[in-house]
């Protein structure tokens, strides 16, 4: 970087941003690799069903296929909202 760049504040160092973004997207794509094609659709439909009963966020359902010895296990995690927001949902429904 030259003196004038320094006086201007210099260009933003972007390599570390690139690295961080790639680290996240690569990890995400690797975990999806080799899993069945229907997972995204299954996830969306499950989310719709759950939302009929509980007001959860759109990223509340996490589905992964894990390998356990010879067979595959469908691992499903649903994060429920905390009590305060759940109560608010219930109140809204009663109203």
């Amino acid at each position: 970087m030259g003196l004038f760049d320094f006086l201007r504040g210099g260009p933003k160092q972007t390599a570390s941003i690139a690295k961080e973004r790639l680290r996240i997207i690569v990890a995400q794509e690797r975990s999806a690799r080799g899993s069945p094609d229907y997972l995204p659709l299954l996830r969306r439909e499950l989310l719709e069903v759950i939302r009929k009963y509980v007001n959860v966020d759109s990223d509340a359902v996490d589905i992964q296929v894990k390998r356990d010895g010879d067979h595959e296990v469908l691992d499903l995690t649903v994060t429920l909202p905390d009590k305060a927001s759940a109560a608010a949902t219930a109140a809204a429904r009663e109203a």
Binding site: M1, Q13, T14, A15, A18, K19, V26
Partner: protein, 270 residues
């Protein structure tokens, strides 16, 4: 024993053909019997980079369709007798390559006693790219220190470990090497370009070589002389090192540091 090596990347324009040509010449220089095949049907370019474009009579698709013999289609390099080029066809037929046909040609090359067969893959993940990697024993994944290239090469690494013959047969996996090209040490030092360590950390595979961005690469393609033959180019020396490592030699990485600047260019920027 013939080794099949695919040179691939996913993304286009990162230096697959330049790398295929230089690695092929490097191996031939060391006395290996080498064939290099252009799998980019419809967009033939390896012949230009190798400087044999006016000697293409028959091509890869002709051999696959048995319209000529393998010997007729192999173009002997003018510089090295033990180096041969098999050009891609300029046909627009996407189904010109078949798995059986490619396998037959590769087996014939094995019977001819080639030590190395390099498969120069087209960009993308379509049929040509798939067939270029399917029979590979090793893969050289060419990557630029840039987000889309790194992401695409990770996709290719996934395909290498699932959609190749070795993956399907459950034997030893395809050996994977990274070849980092268009590396600019000055920009890395300034924090504007990811470093070799960054790319290695994200992709998690071993680095075969780092090719610095160099004027020599364009000059070499202009002249049809693979850049590894340019004694004055850092890129040429870096390819030389990469070939040595491919053959199992230990070589320290060179050309990773930014060239030292004088006081004037330090003050005023370059």
């Amino acid at each position: 024993m013939t080794e099949f090596i695919v040179v691939t990347s996913g993304k286009g324009g990162v230096g697959k053909t330049t790398s295929s040509a230089s690695v092929a010449v490097g191996l031939a220089k060391r006395g290996k019997k080498v064939a290099v095949i252009d799998f980019d049907v419809g967009l033939r370019n390896l012949d230009l980079i190798m400087g044999c474009e006016r000697r293409v009579v028959y091509d890869f698709v002709n051999v696959i369709h048995q319209e000529c013999t393998l010997k007729q289609a192999l173009i002997k390099d003018k510089r090295y007798d033990n180096l041969h080029v098999l050009a891609a066809s300029q046909t627009r037929d996407k189904d010109a390559l078949t798995k059986e046909g490619v396998e037959r040609v590769l087996n014939d090359l094995k019977e001819e006693g080639f030590d190395y067969v390099l498969c120069d893959s087209p960009a993308g993940i379509e049929k040509g790219a798939f067939l270029a990697m399917y029979f590979a024993d090793r893969a050289i994944v060419v990557v630029n220190p840039e987000v889309s290239s790194v992401r695409d090469s990770d996709r290719i690494l996934g395909l290498l470990s699932s959609k190749t013959k070795r993956a399907e047969n459950g034997g030893d996996p395809v050996a994977q090497h990274l070849l980092l090209t268009r590396y600019n040490p000055t920009r890395v030092a300034a924090g504007d370009m990811m470093s070799i360590d960054d790319v290695k950390e994200i992709l998690g595979i071993e680095v075969l070589g780092v090719i610095p961005e160099s004027e020599g690469v364009l000059a070499a393609s202009n002249a049809g002389v693979p850049v590894i033959l340019d004694e004055n180019s850092h890129a040429g020396h870096a390819y030389e090192d990469a070939v040595a490592r491919l053959l199992g030699e230990e070589r320290p990485m060179r050309f990773l540091d930014a060239p030292k600047k004088g006081i004037l260019s330090r003050l005023f920027g370059s």
